[in-house]
Structure formats: C-alpha cells, structure tokens
C-alpha cells in the first residue's frame, strides 16, 4: 500500500505598516483551511520579529498549535501533530517605498508600460525620461545623478524594431553610473529591445549590477510585465531587508517564499481570475477585482480576460501636496455625519500625521469611511491611466463587470456593520451591472498569493471557505428613465419556499432581505430603457444567488451618484442609504 504524502502545514506572516499578522493554514476534513489568524502591532523602528513573534504567540494560543520553541525560534519542520510548520510564507509592505528611475522611449509605448509596471509596486518614481528628453541628454544625466535612484528601469524598443534605439540611453546611464559615488550606485534593470542586451551587458556590466529581462513591450500590442515585475519585487525586498532590522531573518525562514504585499496581491488575482476557454470580451464578461485599503497603502488588482494589473498608492495624500484640497472636499462631501468642514480637516490632518489612529467616535468613523471612498476612486483612476482596457469614467462609473470584488484592509474590516462596507464599495467604485462583494476578513489574500506559488490548491480551497465572507450580491441597473420611475421588477424565490415581488424605482437604494447563505432565484425584468448588465437595455434574466450578510442590494441611484449640495440634505441622504443597508 502506498503511503499517502502528508499535507504541508503553512505559516503565513504579513508585516504591514501598522499591523503584523500570523496565519496558520492546515488541512481540515480534506481541504486546506485557515486555522487561525492573529494580529499584533508591527514593531516599526525595532526588530520586526518582535511584532511578528507577538502575533505568532497569539496564534499558537488561539489554535493550540505550537509554532515557537522555548527559545522563541520557529519550529520547522513539524516535530509532531500540532507542533511546528513545514513552510513559512512572508509578505511585507512595511518598508519605505524604493526610489526608482524610469528610462524609455515612446510616451504611449514603453513609457506607458514602464509606468504601469512601477505603479504596481511600492516604488517612488524619482525620475522619468522618454524620447522627448533624449535631446537634453546632459541635463538628464545630471538629473539622474541628483535623483539618487536605487533602481534604474530601462525599457524601450520593440523586439522586431531597430537595434540601436536605446543606445543613447545606455550612454546616458553609463555616464550617470560613472558620476555616482559607489555607495549610491543603483541596480540597473533592462527590459527593452532584446537585440540590445549584449550591448548593454558589454557596456554597463563592468560598472554596476545589471539584470536583463525579456522585453516589457515585445510588440506594440503586447505587454510582458510579469518577469520584470517579479524581479523588481525581489529587488525591493532585498533593499528593505538591508534597511529594516529583522526582515532579513524572517526572509531566510521563508526560504524564498516571500513577496511584497503588492506583488502577492497582483499574483493571486492573476491566478484566480484566469479566464476559462469560453472567455470573450462581451457586455456580460466578468473579471475579478480585489481592493485592499490598508493603513499604509491602497492596493487595487484586477484581471479581465487576459489582461490584468495592479496599482499601489500611499494611503494618504501628503499634507503639503496639491491633492490635499480636493481630498478634503471629497471627504467632507461623503461624510455621513453632521461634522463641520473644520472638524473633518482636523481629523484628517492628524490621521495623515499619525496613520495608526483609529476612529473612536461615530463621526470619525464616518469621516474615515469617506476617506476609503476617496482611496478607491483614486486607485481606480490611477489604474485606468495605466491600463486602457479598464473602462472607467473617473467620478462617473466603472463599466467593466467584476465578480467577485474582494475587499481587504483595515478600512473595511474596521467597519462595524456589513452595510457600511457595501455602501463604501458602491460609492467608491460606482460599479454597474451585477457583482458579488466578498470580504477578506482576516486579510490573508496576499499570503495566499505567495502560498499559491508553492501549493496552488491552498488559495483555491481557502478562498472557498468561510474565511472569506460573502457580503452580498449587488445589482446596479443603469436607466434612462427619470427619478421616481419604475425601472425594474424582481421576482424573488427563496429556497425556503418564500417568494415576493419587488419594484425598483430610479434614484433608490434597496436591500432584498434574504437570509445569509440562503439560495434565491431572482427573475429580473428591466424596463426597455434599463440595462442590468445582461447584454443591453431591456434584457432580463433569471439569476441564482447565494445571499450574503447584506442580502441582495439593488443600487438604482444612477451613475454617477449625485449628492445634494445642501449639507443637511446631503448628510440626510447618506444616512438614509446607510439605514437601508443596515449601516
């Protein structure tokens, strides 16, 4: 008899800007499950293993599974049942964003691809030079030296194109390297025209650590982002490991099973959003999206057919930047509480200074949830800049259909009611059509992105478990009918035998109360001037749904959602919507 191989036990460690998490994954009843997850404060400025260790000690208490030996070291591999783990995965977002310079050619080609790539990782772009700057090469060289990048990313030239287009930039970078003191020399990554690889190796390798990779833009229509993104991910981790005490030790324990949170988030969405053979880009096609609004950064990853991408942005605008005014205006507009503009400014400015603050009062929670809406709007806007396939009209609506939309991060998990989360998403993303909103309540999605690289079944099985909470299905009809007109009729048949009809009127927000977890059949009959996302105006269909914590939500408020100008009316509207969804 062949002895069956024992399933591996995984420990996941996530070192965030504010919190460190420890999560244990093991097989339960034949399937991988999250056995427990504990959070501790990240020991920023100290040894990072401090915060992680605190979370691990909590985890071993909570799960009755020993992780640490008496000396505090990780038990790996396991020594007996409920003692030790086989592998440790590490994701981190705690480090200062890495300084990166981008050098390329055409604005719409290599520069756009390079920018989209850098937007997907925790990097600060300190210099950007394309074809237009080539004529001012000496100035560019000086600017590059002054910018002190830690990484120089060189892109440009399609593979079948001329074999010398990047030569002037190779000259410029060579000179920049000569002028840069040894201690400040950046790493150079070349992901341009492959016919220039030998030339760049010959000329730059004697001066610097150089990586050459497949072309980021092998032809005008195709982006090949993953190899360069994967390398940059590792370089960022290496830079963080040098700067942050303790990260290197944790990295060694992971034996390569490590990533920045951003890259891991991107990876898991690429993985679970992988289209089946039948995927065609039609009005009904659906992609997958995940948004993480953590204390330090906002992450948005999406996959739609064969196209995917990620953006990572700082959680807060700077106090001195030009964005602050617009940010404060937006937040004030969307705060569902009677707070003055001044109070909003005070709270937000202190939160920017101290990102660890938690909303203590109901008003502060309302302000912070308005901030979450802003972060989603900004992340979507940035995403659409770098990914032309995303059909997003900033401030109006998101036209592509994504199902599910997975939410993570303190901004969501801090919400006291599921309805608050649902409303944040509807207002922040302004989606249309039909979707299911899922909450990653333990914030393990990035960890699953890393674990999936070793054991692909782990994310599949854990994603289907109770660790991910179904908040509900949303239906967002877009109608040409005026406010107050009936735009939709839904016949609801719940599995327990109950059934009822609901009429939906333009300008309203409705919640269909269906017990969480129950299956229901919805017969959706839109008016001839109403589009529900079934392929055009007036098209209806039967839809089978599993109800979530907020039941099924019908958002017929129109797109864009318009708020009254009068402050009292605006707050009354926002509160009324909260009331509808049980927020």
């Amino acid at each position: 008899m062949v002895k069956q191989k024992r399933a591996s036990i995984f420990l996941g460690i996530d070192i965030g800007a504010i919190h460190s998490r420890a999560a244990l994954f093991n097989v339960d009843k034949g399937k991988y499950r999250l056995m427990g997850c504990e959070t501790a404060q990240t020991s920023t400025g100290m040894h990072l293993a401090g915060g992680a260790g605190h979370a691990m000690r909590g985890l071993q208490t909570g799960t009755a599974h020993s992780l640490l030996n008496q000396a505090g070291g990780l038990i790996m591999p396991p020594v007996r049942l409920n003692e030790g783990v086989d592998h440790m995965a590490l994701v981190a977002s705690v480090g200062e964003w890495v300084r990166c310079a981008l050098i390329g050619l055409t604005e719409d080609g290599s520069m756009a691809a390079g920018k989209a790539l850098l937007d997907s990782l925790p990097v600060k772009t300190v210099a950007e030079f394309g074809l237009a700057e080539l004529s001012e090469q000496p100035d560019v060289i000086e600017a590059l030296v002054r910018a002190q990048p830690e990484i120089v990313l060189m892109v440009g030239g399609v593979d079948a194109g001329p074999s010398n287009t990047m030569t002037p930039w190779i000259d410029a970078v060579k000179l920049m390297l000569r002028l840069t003191p040894p201690s400040k020399k950046p790493v150079v990554v070349f992901a341009g025209n492959t016919s220039q690889v030998e030339e760049i190796k010959r000329r730059l390798e004697p001066l610097v650590t150089l990586y050459t990779l497949p072309n980021l833009l092998p032809s005008f229509e195709v982006r090949n982002q993953t190899p360069t993104q994967s390398l940059l991910n590792q370089l960022i981790l290496q830079i963080w490991e040098k700067k942050l005490t303790g990260l290197s030790e944790l990295g060694k324990l992971s034996k390569g099973l490590k990533s920045t949170s951003a890259f891991a988030h991107d990876r898991i969405i690429r993985y679970i959003g992988y289209p089946d053979d039948t995927f065609e880009k039609t009005a009904q096609s659906r992609g997958v999206m995940a948004i993480n609004l953590g204390a330090g950064s906002s992450l948005l990853s999406a996959r739609f057919g064969n196209q995917s991408g990620t953006v990572v942005q700082p959680a807060w605008p700077g106090l001195s930047g030009s964005e602050l005014g617009d940010f404060l205006d937006f937040v004030f507009q969307w705060t569902a509480s009677k707070v003055s503009r001044l109070e909003t400014e005070h709270y937000v400015s202190h939160h920017i200074l101290h990102p660890t603050l938690v909303p203590e009062t109901v008003s502060e929670l309302a302000v912070s949830q308005a901030v979450a809406r802003y972060r989603m709007t900004k992340a979507l806007g940035k995403f659409s800049e770098g990914h032309g396939w995303l059909e997003y009209d900033p401030g109006i609506c998101l036209n592509n259909h994504f199902e599910p939309i997975i939410l993570g991060g303190d901004a969501f998990t801090n919400a006291s009611q599921p309805g608050q989360i649902m409303l944040m998403v509807l207002d922040g993303l302004q989606i249309r059509g039909i979707s299911t909103i899922v909450l990653d309540q333990y914030q393990i999605l990035p960890l699953l992105g890393v674990l999936g690289g070793m054991e692909p079944i782990v994310p599949i099985q854990v994603l289907a478990s109770q660790s991910f909470v179904n908040l509900g299905t949303v239906i967002v009809p877009i109608s040409r009918l005026s406010e107050g007109k009936r735009i939709l009729t839904i016949h609801v048949s719940i599995e327990d035998g109950k059934s009822y009809d609901v009429e939906i009127y333009q300008g309203t927000l409705r919640r269909l109360v269906i017990p969480a977890g129950a299956t229901a059949i919805l017969d959706i009959e839109p008016d001839q001037k109403t589009d529900v996302g079934f392929g055009g105006m007036g098209r209806g269909r039967q839809l089978k749904v599993t109800s979530g914590l907020t039941g099924v939500v019908i958002d017929a408020r129109g797109r864009p959602i318009r708020l009254p100008e009068n402050d009292d009316d605006r707050v009354a509207f926002l509160r009324q919507w909260h009331g509808v969804l049980g927020g």
Binding site: Q137, I141, E142, R146, L319, E345, S349, T356, V358
Partner: protein
C-alpha cells in the same frame, strides 16, 4: 502597545547626526563648536555636462574616432584646448567648448563637465562636534532644552525666544505682531487666521513655535521663509503646562528651530533646541516606547482630542469604542483631573524630564 514619543525635556544631552547624501569631505574636526549655519561637510558631483561630437567634427566613423583623441578622459581642459585631431589632406580639429573636465568618450562623443555641483551640509544646530564620520558627516551634541513637535514647514532658523502674551484658550490675533522685535523666535498658542500668520511672519521674527494651527494654513506656512513648528498638532490644541513652563523658564535665550517635515529625515521630528541651562541629564531618547501606567500622554484624536494627562492603566483586553471598532484602551487622569478612556493607538507619549 508601542506608541510614538515626543520629547519635551528641560535639560538633556541632544545628539544629532548630520550626514551628506553621498560621500564627500568633512570640513570640521572633533571638539569644534558649530553654529546652525556653519557648513560642516560638502560633496560635489560634476555638472554642466556637454557632449562634443568628435566623430562628426573630424568627419570619421564613430568606431574610429577614439584613435584621434589628443586628450584623454580624466584630464582637465581649458577653453579651446584641442581634444581631437585628424591629419589628412585637410587637417580637422575638435576643441573643448569650455573649461572643464573630460569625463568620458562614448560613441564618438566627448563628455565634458564644465562645472561641479556642490552639496553643502549645515550643522543646523549649535553644539560641539562629538564624532566625525569620515567622508559622510558628524555627530553634534549640545546640552539644553529639547522640545519636539509634530509638524514642521521644512525650514530652520534661530533667535531669542519670546512668548507671545495670548491667553491659551484664545486663538492668536494679528496685532500681537506689533510686540515683536527683529530676529525673535516667537512661541505662541493657536493660529487659525491667515492674516495672523502673515503678520507674525512679516514682523521680522526668525521662527514661529505654535501649539497648533488650522490645517488650511499649511500651504501658507510652507511658503514662509522662516521655520514654523507645531508642538501639538492641527486645530485648536493647547500647549501642555510643562511645555509652557519650559518656554517660560528659558524666555529670552537663544533658540534654534529645526522645523523638518515629519518624514524628511527618518526618525527625526521637528524640534526646538534651547542650548544651555542646567539639571540632571535624562535617559536615552527613544522615538517609540511601550505605553504603560505613568506615561504622560497627549490625546491625538477622538472626543478627548488635545487633552493631556497621565496613564493610570492600560487595558489587557480589547474594548469596543463608540465607533464600533475594538482595540486596547488606556485610562488617563487628565490635567483637569478627569478620568477618561482613550484608544491606545490615539495617544502619543510626551516625555518630560524627571
């Protein structure tokens, strides 16, 4: 729970390291006194780069141009120096366009740096050079009062400190500027009006130390040529009594205001240094510390925002706040003898001298 620490020490030893962004030359030795504006180190990089197309100038292929160089990379050049020459039926010359250094010869082109860009490192404080870090910078130390703030406008300056006579509970008013003498560093309460901030800045003052300021004044404060530092934060937060008493006890003395942006230098907060004074030197200064009973704290947010007091207990179990969020809380006896409960995450420790 580990929280940020703000130091408000009447007498302590302050050590600050000043480092160049890249290696250069340290201009001062150990044991020397420095003033805030003293340049203590400098580094330079070539600038004013010019490229001279030698191949084109000589009319030869790029691959052959190097052999006609009469000067080599690394050499210094004078204006008009011949850098390449091709003796043919018609002799051709290429000359240096300006005085400079021949940096490199790349693809038939000579790269010449016609200048140097120099980075100066200032002491930005008064004190004694304790350690020289070769090629990088120095550690300067001074004994005196240290008052750290939470926000700065990125500038620095010095002058004799004057406390503006405004009642703590009232915002500053513009007419106070009339009492100011040139080059004074002004310590005051809450500034909520543009006119007041402008009048104070235009009064000849060399720095502003405010308890708090309206957030909408940030762009204005950032544009001012003098340092502006906020000790408590934004809004209407009042200074705590100990901080006020330190200022009062040092009024009229020379004061240095280093109003760095909060994230400008990792770990460094905007701060006010008043050299001199006396007392027992306190313990080492940590920028983050475990919150515990006895910690003196400032409440940064929530319904008790701006209150100061002493922690009497830190909960071991998480509690639910009014917002519905759960977290650890601290029991605090405020300076007004109230007992309040505040989420630990919304506190900063204010460290005073013992």
């Amino acid at each position: 729970m580990i929280v940020d620490v703000i130091h408000r020490l009447k007498f302590t030893k302050i050590q600050r390291t000043r480092e160049l962004p890249f290696p250069g030359q340290v201009l001062i030795g150990e044991g020397k006194d420095v003033q805030p504006d003293d340049i203590i180190a400098e580094a330079s990089t070539p600038s004013g780069l010019q490229t001279v197309d030698v191949a084109r100038g000589l009319g030869v292929p790029v691959s052959e141009a190097r052999q006609y160089l009469t000067r080599q990379p690394g050499e210094s050049l004078d204006d008009g120096d011949i850098i390449a020459q091709h003796e043919g039926r018609i002799s051709r010359l290429v000359r240096a366009p300006e005085k400079g250094k021949f940096l490199d010869f790349i693809n038939g082109k000579a790269v010449i740096a016609t200048g140097r860009s120099i980075v100066h490192l200032k002491a930005a404080m008064r004190g004694v050079v304790e350690t020289v870090i070769p090629e990088r910078g120095v550690t300067i130390s001074v004994e005196g009062s240290l008052l750290q703030g939470v926000w700065g406008n990125g500038k620095s300056g010095e002058g004799k400190i004057k406390i503006l006579d405004s009642r703590p509970e009232d915002p500053l008013f513009a007419q106070l500027a009339e009492e100011v003498e040139p080059d004074q560093v002004l310590a005051a309460g809450v500034c909520s009006e543009e006119t007041t901030l402008m009048n104070l800045a235009n009064s000849g003052a060399s720095g502003l130390i405010l308890s708090a300021m309206a957030p909408r004044l940030i762009p204005l404060a950032e544009g001012l040529p003098i340092p502006v530092i906020l000790l408590q934060g934004f809004g209407d937060l009042q200074p705590d009594p100990e901080t006020l008493s330190i200022f009062k006890s040092r009024e009229g003395e020379n004061t240095i205001v280093i109003a760095v942006h909060p994230d400008e230098i990792p770990g460094q907060k905007p701060e006010v240094i008043i050299p001199g004074g006396s007392g027992e030197i306190g313990e080492e200064m940590e920028s983050r510390e475990e919150l515990s009973a006895g910690s003196r704290v400032l409440v940064f947010s929530g319904k008790n925002r701006g209150k100061t007091g002493e922690v009497s207990d830190v909960s071991e179990k998480q509690m639910t706040f009014e917002s519905g969020i759960t977290g650890f809380v601290a029991d605090i006896r405020t300076d007004e003898y109230q007992m309040i409960q505040v989420p630990c995450q919304n506190l900063v420790i204010i460290k005073h001298s013992r």
